[in-house]
């Protein structure tokens, strides 16, 4: 055998060995005979650890299915593309807001038959969390961990402004008055803000709900310029009008990331913020000495019936269309929905449970001192979920842009919302027309 042939043979052998070794390294340790269920999830850190504990517990609990949890960035788009490519995961952990769009795109399968088979139904859940996965008469998703929002306030800043830290604002008038007392301006420069409607900025689209507004009629009509929404945006604009648009923009630009010690709330730059149940995790990690508390978000003084408005969202589990092991995938989802599975997960992520029945031990051992408040708020009839519209991402972008224009005092609230209405209604009509054209619109 000449040298060249030997070298070629050697190269081929090395290549083959490399492939074999890499496969051995990355291949999951699937115990023989079990069905291998691939589960894509977005989480990292403690959230991923909590779900890993549930997955491990499920894998130990039986000997027929092995779930492999893979953390995937941008999981929504990747699931969509993998589904389009015919090779989706068996289970995907998406966001509640994805349900309508993904269901309309036929990217996820209804879970009705499995739910019926295993007796999973609405009565076992806090209504808003069941509704998030329920779309167009079908169950498309079941929850993992939920979240509701409340007003978080810095008790130390309350004290320094001679406010009673045990008497947080109950109405928006009180909120504005407290905010004005806490806000510090030196040489025209905002040093501390009592409250900023743009912080943290995740519900800029939804302030209308606080005033009793709604974003669509549940059928075919967009209601962006509903009078209550306009009133909400007028309240928002009162802040830049009072403190100066440029001054607030400059002040906000100095804030760090949400999950960092430079977070405006944890850094005592903003005294009151609408925040979710997860805030406790950030505070314990980045600012453990912060003296804070949570309370329901204030309501308009003339609308006591709007007490308890909270924005609810949840992470969900879905089975993408074309999943290879849908039955086994649902077995895992069912395990997560069980009370022990759900409490293990929610305790790990330090959130409340989406289930209506929770063990006493869960409440007793939960580290977040305000966890019952978040669960109670989620049960409120004023609990708000993202509109179940396939057009929601586009609509949301329009509302966020209107919010920007109002905060920059470029437009009046009425102008900004009229423009959203004028842009979105034709898109809604077009969407309904095309769905009808496909013969699929309800």
């Amino acid at each position: 055998m000449d040298l060249r042939r030997l070298a070629t043979l050697f190269a081929v052998a090395v290549l083959g060995l490399t492939v074999w070794i890499s496969e051995r390294i990355v291949a999951p340790p699937v115990p023989g005979g079990r069905v291998h269920v691939i589960y894509w999830e977005k989480w990292t850190g403690i959230e991923a650890d909590a779900m890993r504990a549930v997955v491990d517990s499920f894998n130990r609990s039986q000997d027929k299915i092995f779930v492999e949890l893979l953390t995937i960035s941008d999981v929504g788009n990747k699931t969509l593309l993998a589904t389009a490519g015919g090779d989706p995961p068996d289970v995907a952990g998406l966001w509640g807001a994805n349900v309508a769009q993904y269901a309309d795109d036929d990217a996820i399968v209804p879970l009705d038959s499995w739910c019926a088979k295993y007796g999973i139904n609405r009565s076992q859940y806090i209504p808003v969390y069941w509704n998030t996965g329920f779309y167009d008469g079908h169950v498309y998703a079941l929850p993992t961990t939920p979240a509701s929002t409340a007003l978080h306030y810095n008790r130390a800043l309350f004290r320094s402004a001679r406010l009673d830290p045990d008497k947080p604002p109950a109405t928006l008038d009180e909120l504005d008055a407290d905010a004005a007392k806490i806000t510090k301006i030196e040489n025209g420069h905002v040093e501390v803000a009592g409250f900023l409607p743009a912080e943290p900025g995740w519900w800029n689209w939804g302030w209308g709900y606080v005033f009793g507004g709604r974003l669509w009629d549940g059928n075919s009509r967009i209601t962006a310029n509903d009078p209550a929404n306009v009133r909400a945006f007028a309240w928002i604009q009162s802040y830049p009008k009072k403190y100066g648009s440029t001054e607030l923009q400059t002040f906000r630009s100095g804030f760090g990331n949400v999950s960092s010690p430079q977070n405006a709330f944890m850094d005592s730059k903003v005294a009151m913020e609408l925040q979710g149940v997860w805030m406790y995790n950030f505070i314990t990690k980045y600012s453990p000495n912060l003296d804070w508390a949570a309370t329901p978000f204030p309501h308009p003084a003339d609308r006591p019936d709007l007490k308890g408005v909270t924005f609810c969202d949840e992470d969900i589990l879905v089975i993408p269309r074309g999943a290879k092991h849908p039955n086994e995938a649902f077995e895992f989802i069912r395990y997560v929905q069980s009370q022990p599975g759900m409490e293990l997960l929610c305790m790990g992520q330090r959130k409340h449970s989406p289930l209506s029945h929770v063990s006493e031990q869960f409440w007793r051992t939960h580290p977040n001192p305000f966890i019952r408040l978040f669960a109670d708020l989620a049960k409120s009839p004023r609990a708000v979920q993202d509109p179940q519209l396939a057009l929601w991402p586009e609509y949301q972008a329009e509302l966020v842009n209107a919010f920007d224009e109002v905060m920059l005092v470029q437009k009046t609230p009425q102008q900004a919302l009229d423009e959203v209405q004028a842009r979105m209604q034709p898109k809604m009509d077009e969407y309904l027309r095309r769905m009808k054209q496909r013969g699929e619109r309800r």
Partner: protein, 322 residues
């Protein structure tokens, strides 16, 4: 075979078959076919890649631009609906105007700065290799890292740029990232920082300017400006045209940096560029057909602008070779 001349070995020296002679054409074509097959085999990785990853998607995107297509459902033919809707889509026009305004601001400034820098870096000064490296390095920084870095530099509260402006007496420096009037200029400034690639191309062009032209200019008593205006720039004109066309293509397709620095094109869509809206339509709103239509409109726009640039430059660009 051992002593066969190389030309003959590769077939170049074989006698041409005479007309009417039997088996020669057959042998020739068999050999020729084999060689073509071998050549195609070697080129096949590129050919397959080109067809699968470029040609097919290109052709498919033309078709999809006339369809209601969300990627997961089969495309439904809607004729020119997507194009008609685009014409009436306010956000489309906002994104297009933002992009053109950015291109109009960024292109000339980048061209002028890159050209000026290359003229300076072409001087015979000690340590020039080091200076050239300093100016080239920023163009190697990955786009996302670049965006994060400039987020901090432009920070309205603690940014180095505003601190520097305060030092020179500007009491209220702009809020680059939060003020719609300053967000695009901020991106232009950032673009100028990354002109290293264009500088290198200019420098290569400057090396090719014949010395005898400078000597002739010297004999005519030309100063620095006259030499630059009458010799350097004309001889560099093909390179300037190249950078102009690449600049048109690049600025009209700006995406990564504003996508990272200005989520959603904030503030108030002042940095919402064409490609960002295209991306949102394709991957956030799941309107792939609509996004394809946008892609083809952008292609047409770039094509037209490039042809205009080529046509308009024909009288001003001097090609040394003829």
């Amino acid at each position: 075979m051992k002593n066969r001349p190389y030309a003959q070995a590769i077939g170049a020296g074989e006698p041409l078959p005479e007309r009417g002679r039997g088996p020669a054409p057959h042998r020739r074509s068999a050999l020729s076919r084999r060689r073509t097959a071998t050549a195609l085999l070697f080129a096949s990785p590129w050919i397959v890649g080109f067809c699968v990853f470029l040609l097919y998607p290109l052709c498919a995107s033309i078709y999809y631009s006339f369809c209601d297509y969300s990627v997961l459902r089969p495309p439904v033919w809607v004729g020119a609906d997507n194009y008609r809707t685009l014409i009436n889509d306010e956000v489309f026009w906002t994104a297009l105007v933002n992009t053109v305004v950015y291109a109009v601001l960024a292109l000339p400034s980048s061209l002028v700065v890159a050209l000026s820098l290359s003229l300076l870096l072409n001087a015979r000064v000690a340590g020039m290799a080091l200076y050239r490296t300093f100016f080239f390095v920023p163009s190697l920084v990955p786009q996302v890292a670049l965006a994060i870095l400039w987020l901090w530099l432009f920070n309205g509260e603690h940014g180095m740029i505003n601190e520097a402006l305060k030092v020179i007496g500007i009491r209220n420096p702009p809020n680059w990232l939060g003020d719609p009037n300053w967000s695009k200029p901020a991106l232009v400034l950032l673009g100028v920082w990354g002109v290293g690639g264009a500088v290198v191309i200019y420098l290569a062009g400057l090396q090719d300017v014949p010395q005898h032209l400078y000597e002739a200019a010297d004999l005519d008593g030309a100063g620095w400006w006259a030499r630059t205006w009458h010799v350097t720039l004309p001889m560099l004109s093909p390179v300037i045209l190249f950078n102009l066309i690449m600049g048109i293509i690049g600025t009209l397709q700006i995406f990564t940096v504003p996508y990272v620095m200005f989520p959603g094109g904030s503030p108030a869509r002042s940095t919402y560029f064409y490609t960002m809206y295209l991306f949102d339509n394709a991957f956030i709103y799941h309107k792939m057909g609509y996004a394809c239509a946008m892609g083809w409109i952008m292609f047409a726009l770039i094509l037209v602008l490039t042809l205009i640039a080529l046509k308009a430059s024909s009288r001003h660009v001097y090609y040394g070779g003829g």
